[in-house]
Symmetry: C2
Subunit: 456 residues, 2 copies
């Protein structure tokens, strides 16, 4: 028989990994609550019609689709099968799909529950999403996203608040030097307006999205291929370079964008945010303006964020987000501006692991184990275990009276700090011999003292 294996891009988690993952999740969850967000959860799969056509062609390819139950061919006819048109056929044999992100299900939730929620609606959601992406370091096919969103207000106070939230999470994780990049999609739209290439907005953002990974020479080549003029490309690179020092180049940028209404607006939004942080400096992370930041997600319409780890860590972005003006419109609810951010747990884990900032875990929360010397003591061991448990001590007994060395080996392998000996002698004297597995020190204690010791 073949040894079983996992699906590509998925993982089992053992107790030690879960302990460390939960440490990060708890910090994020706690911070979301601190900032007034409340949790919701949505189902793992949505109706296919809810998810399809929402993520562009590329996204659609990566969505896991669930076969209809029962006769999945019932809505097909022989020509569908003969034609082998994969997209058409898949839409007929599939009726559900796994969550691809938390944002579209959130928009669906808001529209569906619009009469029960109060606006602005602040929610956080920490759940798995699934993407049929090619697995690589820090990228899996099942991964946990930690999202917070506010919907129903376009106040820029929220942009500032989310930057404060990033700062608080990284501070609480003891992670300093993260680079919180911000930009405004309005400035990218303005660039296309100013240089007469409004029809090429998507092409520009697509190319800029790679600017951290790809050489500028290649970006330039691609943009030329997309029929951008050489001088326009130079201007774009120049604007990006100016944005790197906002306080110094504020006026130059103002002038560049002065001819565009959306550009001026976008820049004044950035100025508002920077004016807060010039008075209230971040002590832990760095706030970086970068007009080259594009984010490959179509629904963003205003300020966008991307967070990079400290400069000595070579792992992609660990968080992101932005403002979207029309997300719920896809489900029929207009004029609900929203803004949200998302932490990628796996990337954060890798960064903290590389910097050795994950907490130590003994691999076991069990504090003590009763060794088993004879079936005669079976009932006693169960009883004593229950007494310890009712005193809030996590404990177990070894279930079989096998060789003691093997039992001690089990305790060692599982990092159980104390073993308790209970045999004829102990039964007679009503005492318990307890051994500290780290120091090797043994003590003989009454039950009362045993409880007191383990409760520490």
């Amino acid at each position: 028989m073949k040894k079983p294996i996992l699906p590509k891009g998925t993982r089992d988690f053992n107790s030690s990994e879960l302990y460390k993952r939960n440490y990060i999740i708890d910090v994020i969850k706690d911070t979301f609550s601190k900032f007034g967000f409340n949790p919701i959860e949505t189902p793992s799969f949505e109706r296919a019609e809810t998810l399809l056509d929402k993520y562009g062609n590329e996204g659609e390819r990566l969505i896991f689709k669930i076969l209809k139950s029962g006769n999945f061919l019932k809505d097909t006819d022989i020509s569908d099968l003969k034609d082998k048109n994969l997209i058409d056929l898949s839409r007929k044999i599939v009726d559900k799909a796994l969550r691809y992100d938390l944002t579209v299900p959130f928009a669906r939730y808001v529209v569906q529950n619009q009469n029960d929620i109060s606006i602005p609606f602040k929610r956080f959601q920490i759940q798995n999403v699934w993407r049929a992406d090619r697995p690589q370091k820090g990228r899996f096919r099942e991964f946990l996203q930690c999202d917070a969103d506010v919907i129903g207000s376009n106040s820029l106070m929220q942009e500032i608040d989310f930057i404060c939230l990033f700062e608080k999470v990284f501070t609480d994780l003891n992670l300093s030097g993260c680079r919180i990049k911000i930009n405004n999609r309005k400035l990218l739209m303005a660039i296309c307006e100013i240089y007469n290439c409004k029809d090429k907005f998507l092409s520009l953002t697509n190319q800029l999205d790679k600017i951290d990974k790809v050489d500028r020479i290649d970006i330039r080549k691609n943009l030329l291929n997309d029929n951008f003029e050489a001088n326009v490309i130079d201007s774009v690179f120049n604007i990006i370079d100016l944005s790197a020092d906002f306080n110094k180049n504020k006026e130059a940028l103002s002038e560049i964008f002065s001819s565009s209404q959306i550009g001026s607006q976008g820049l004044s939004e950035i100025e508002f945010i920077f004016s807060y942080f010039s008075k209230n400096k971040l002590s832990n992370s760095k706030l970086v303006f970068d007009i080259g930041l594009a984010r490959g997600i179509d629904y963003y319409t205003g300020v966008i964020f991307e967070v990079l780890p400290p400069e000595n860590v070579f792992i992609g972005s660990i968080a992101g987000g932005g403002r979207y003006d029309n997300l719920t419109e896809i489900f029929g609810l207009k004029n609900m501006s929203g803004i949200g951010i998302s932490f990628g747990l796996d990337r954060l884990y890798l960064v903290l692991e590389e910097l050795d900032k994950l907490p130590d875990y003994s691999n076991n929360s069990t504090q003590a184990i009763f060794l088993n010397f004879s079936e005669d003591f079976s009932f006693d061991l169960i009883n004593f275990s229950n007494i310890l448990r009712s005193n809030n001590i996590n404990c177990e007994f070894f279930p079989d009276p096998i060789n003691v060395k093997k039992q001690l080996n089990y305790a060692n392998k599982n990092n159980i700090p104390y073993v308790i000996f209970y045999g004829d002698e102990e039964k007679e004297s009503c005492n318990y011999k307890i051994k500290d597995m780290n120091t090797g020190i043994q003590e003989i204690l009454t039950l009362e003292k045993l409880i007191k010791k383990l409760k520490k």
Copy 2:
């Protein structure tokens, strides 16, 4: 545009529902840890070959299957499509399936990690499973299971320990009167042996599985249809009735099963368990022996459990479990006897809700909100919020300076207990007006006193 809807049998959870669900989950998780179990997690989907052929025809029908990514027809040919053989075709276009229970993935985990785990291996796992069952009260297509298992020892101490674990969970949930039914599959095998119908074991367990929901007359009819002789059926019903009072009818049962080795063994296992609990009575739940308990799951080979809610609550079983001798054998690892139990969160939730034993939740964990009187105070409100947050107070600000009544209405609807007024007057005096939304009482406090008040 159509209002979006959820897939059949799935649910969104709002904050209040999550709070109550997490209350139950935390009790179960805490108890699992108390008893020495450590958490693991497995992926939401497994390779199709891992799950298929494991749950019988009925189960297989209920498994959600995931379409291959990309060209899902690549392993089919035109005859597959023409034949429309659903099972054959689905196996060619599908390569993954959603977890149907936590037990098979656990067996897969044990086999795959056999060199890293120490035996006996105790794990708990609290994760969603998915079944394409017809939805009804307390039955959903996505639901949370809470499982604990020990694998690698056949000590009956574990059967007793799991009953103690049930007792502790229900005690901690303040739920008394649950009926923990136990039986031994060995006794059902023995009945088939004694009455010469070994080949009809599955038919017998299938019929007995319905005994709580269906009238005995119908069970009798079905068994006659399955070619059980009338006197055998009478004997079976008689044995079941005898089992209801084990202590009284111990000898009669002993005699009935004396001719069967497996029967005698099964009965002595039950006797061992009852002898523990006659000395250590359960104070909260009732332990009930019932030879009519069959459990519809094929892999059980020894003691089986099923827990019913208190008698005044008409909801099906809230937990179950049993011993299985050969579960990991399906993945090639023999001789690993295991035993496990499972709580169904949704059923437990319904029972506690019906008995009004779920904790109250204010629908919001936010303790205070700053009202917004003018954009002039934007930066102040963000600052003050951050000061409260750094003092461990969950708070938010209203993002827009709209009509105050509307802001108060938001606070009310979200059950935020305190609102803080900060306007010109407060700015000048460095004081904050705080209003208790429950009592209506207002106070004017310094920042220090405000923090002290909210920290309570």
